[in-house]
């Protein structure tokens, strides 16, 4: 074999490889220019409005409806027995804290009556473990029954639900939420950290910050 022929064969493959590389570069260049990334945000910075997403604007009523609290924790939805707390406080007027079957309550009355005379804050620490033992887990059949009960209660005594959702109950509430929205019932919900108490009360800040929106 001639040395020149061997050299030509080697350089031929080199040429082919170099040309292929060049072709690949050119093809990549053209593909980057012509093929657009099909996302709205890349060339249209304005967000597209989805008209199907609901936005419920809270209303402030001059005479708002009454509230009914539901504790959502440990995969259970339990109504907070507010009447029991009031009865317990009524029975022992001197004791500002005590226990009900659902947990422990603490009444913090306003020492200085600057504004109205019924200003107060009540803290309720629910016994989640006890609730989990006494009540069955909340499932889909329970959802329909609950929504029905809430709708009837609103029609009868104008009470609307407020859901206090603990982290252990967030999954359960996430399943319940679309049903509540579809039913058209007004409701509120608040997320609390694990172990945080339920705080309710009546104080002047509610009327400055408009916290009581329904």
């Amino acid at each position: 074999m001639n040395p020149t022929e061997a050299g030509q064969t080697d350089s031929a493959f080199l040429d082919i490889a170099a040309n292929l590389l060049a072709i690949m570069l050119i093809v990549t260049l053209f593909s980057l220019i012509t093929v657009r990334y099909g996302a709205d945000r890349s060339d249209n910075p304005l967000a597209t409005i989805n008209p199907n997403l609901p936005f419920v604007e809270p209303r402030r009523d001059l005479f708002p409806p009454f509230s009914r609290f539901f504790l959502v924790a440990a995969e259970r939805v339990v109504e907070w027995d507010q009447a029991a707390v009031v009865t317990a406080l009524q029975a022992e007027p001197e004791a500002l804290s005590g226990n009900t079957r659902q947990g422990r309550y603490r009444l913090l009355p306003e020492a200085l009556t600057v504004y109205d005379i019924d200003t107060h804050t009540l803290q309720f620490h629910p016994d989640i473990a006890g609730l989990a033992e006494s009540v069955a887990p909340f499932d889909e059949t329970g959802e329909a029954a609950l929504v029905e009960r809430l709708t009837q209660d609103y029609a009868a005594s104008r009470r609307l639900p407020v859901f206090i959702v603990y982290p252990s109950g967030m999954e359960t509430f996430a399943r319940l939420y679309p049903r509540l929205q579809d039913s058209g019932l007004r409701f509120r919900w608040f997320a609390r950290a694990e172990g945080a108490p339920l705080d309710i009360g009546r104080h002047p800040a509610q009327f400055t910050d408009y916290a009581i929106y329904w």
């Binding site: 402030r60 406080l89 009355p109 109205d116 019924d118 107060h120 009327f207 400055t208 408009y210």
Partner: protein, 339 residues
């Protein structure tokens, strides 16, 4: 042959023509005289009043109207007094007067306070009312009043209008109460009247509530809605028309001073969005004044120009007075500057 005799004897059934013509001539003369008399003595609606009381109320209404504009002129000269809050302790967004103003309770015993707190804490209507029952026989009049007021509010929250009205009247029946504290009972009566579409009753109750407590935001807001609705009536009296416009302007002046929260104005705008836009002279004057006081002179000018052109339904003389005021304001605003 020429006939020279008369025909009188020939037709006995027909009355003699001479007498008939005399009667007709007499009637025509009387008619002409009556016409001439009525032309020379036209009945002027300007100076005649049907009743003396009506004349007096019209003059009083006009006097109050002029007084309002003098007050506005004085306030514009002293800018610092124009938007001062009436009471330093006022928190305009309270649900009752006791939550709006400070220090209205002095030396209340622990038991009473506990009863009120427990009532506020409960969420069942029968239990709430039961907790308030012993307070209705309290010795202190203010406690009795507060208990009745709370019951009225609870019944209204439960949409029981008749019970709420009864409880509010009981609250007003408590003696030895400072009139300023009774405004919430008047407001509840106005609200129940509104729900039953008794607009005149509601208007009177609201006027009482607002005159007793100048910082009552909720009552002023509802009053503005009601007055714009009541103004759209061509059969109202002149004094009513002027008073309603005057009250609307007074409310417009005081609202920015009372508002402590942007959200209050949003509630305000929502309320007006639900009502009908009547487009009569008074609403254009009001919108023009609002724009003027907000600093937008061009929009104000447009609204004042619309006052005369509006085809709304106000009594004629009231519309004339409003148009005169709009002309004055147009002159004070000045002509549009051409670039």
């Amino acid at each position: 042959m020429r006939f020279t005799g008369d025909q009188r004897g020939n037709n006995p059934g027909v009355p003699p023509p001479d007498k008939l013509f005399m009667v007709v001539t007499g009637l025509l003369i009387a008619l002409v005289w009556l016409t001439l008399w009525s032309i020379t003595h036209p009945r002027s609606h300007q100076s005649d009043c049907a009743l003396d009381e009506e004349c007096q109320s019209v003059q009083e209404a006009i006097a109050r109207w002029e007084q309002l504009w003098q007050q506005i002129a004085t306030d514009e000269n002293n800018a610092e007094t124009a938007s001062s809050v009436p009471d330093k302790s006022l928190r305009a967004a309270g649900d009752t007067v006791f939550m709006r103003y400070r220090h209205l309770w002095v030396d209340v015993d622990r038991q009473t306070r506990h009863a009120f707190r427990l009532s506020a804490l409960s969420n069942q209507l029968p239990q709430k009312i039961e907790l308030l029952q012993p307070l209705l026989q309290a010795h202190d009049a203010q406690i009795r009043f507060r208990a009745w007021l709370e019951i009225a509010r609870l019944q209204l929250r439960a949409r029981d209008l008749k019970e709420a009205e009864t409880a509010a009247r009981e609250a007003l029946g408590v003696a030895d109460i400072d009139p300023k504290l009774t405004v919430d009972a008047h407001f509840i009566l106005a609200y129940t009247a509104l729900e039953q579409r008794q607009f005149d009753v509601a208007e009177q109750a609201l006027e009482q509530a607002v005159s007793l407590d100048s910082g009552f935001w909720d009552a002023r807001q509802v009053q503005m809605w009601l007055l714009t609705r009541q103004l759209d009536n061509p059969r109202q009296t002149l004094s009513d028309c002027l008073d309603r416009t005057r009250l609307l302007i007074e409310n417009l002046r005081i609202m920015p001073a009372l508002g402590q929260n942007r959200v209050q104005f949003r509630d305000f705008a929502d309320l007006f969005r639900t009502g009908a836009a009547s487009g009569n002279a008074a609403t254009h004057l009001l919108a023009g004044l609002g724009d003027l006081w907000a600093g937008d002179r061009d929009k104000a000018r447009d609204q004042f120009l619309k006052v005369k052109q509006s085809r709304g339904r106000l009594p004629v003389r009231c519309a004339a007075l409003i148009a005169a005021k709009a002309d004055e304001l147009l002159n004070s605003v000045g002509s549009r500057e051409t670039p």
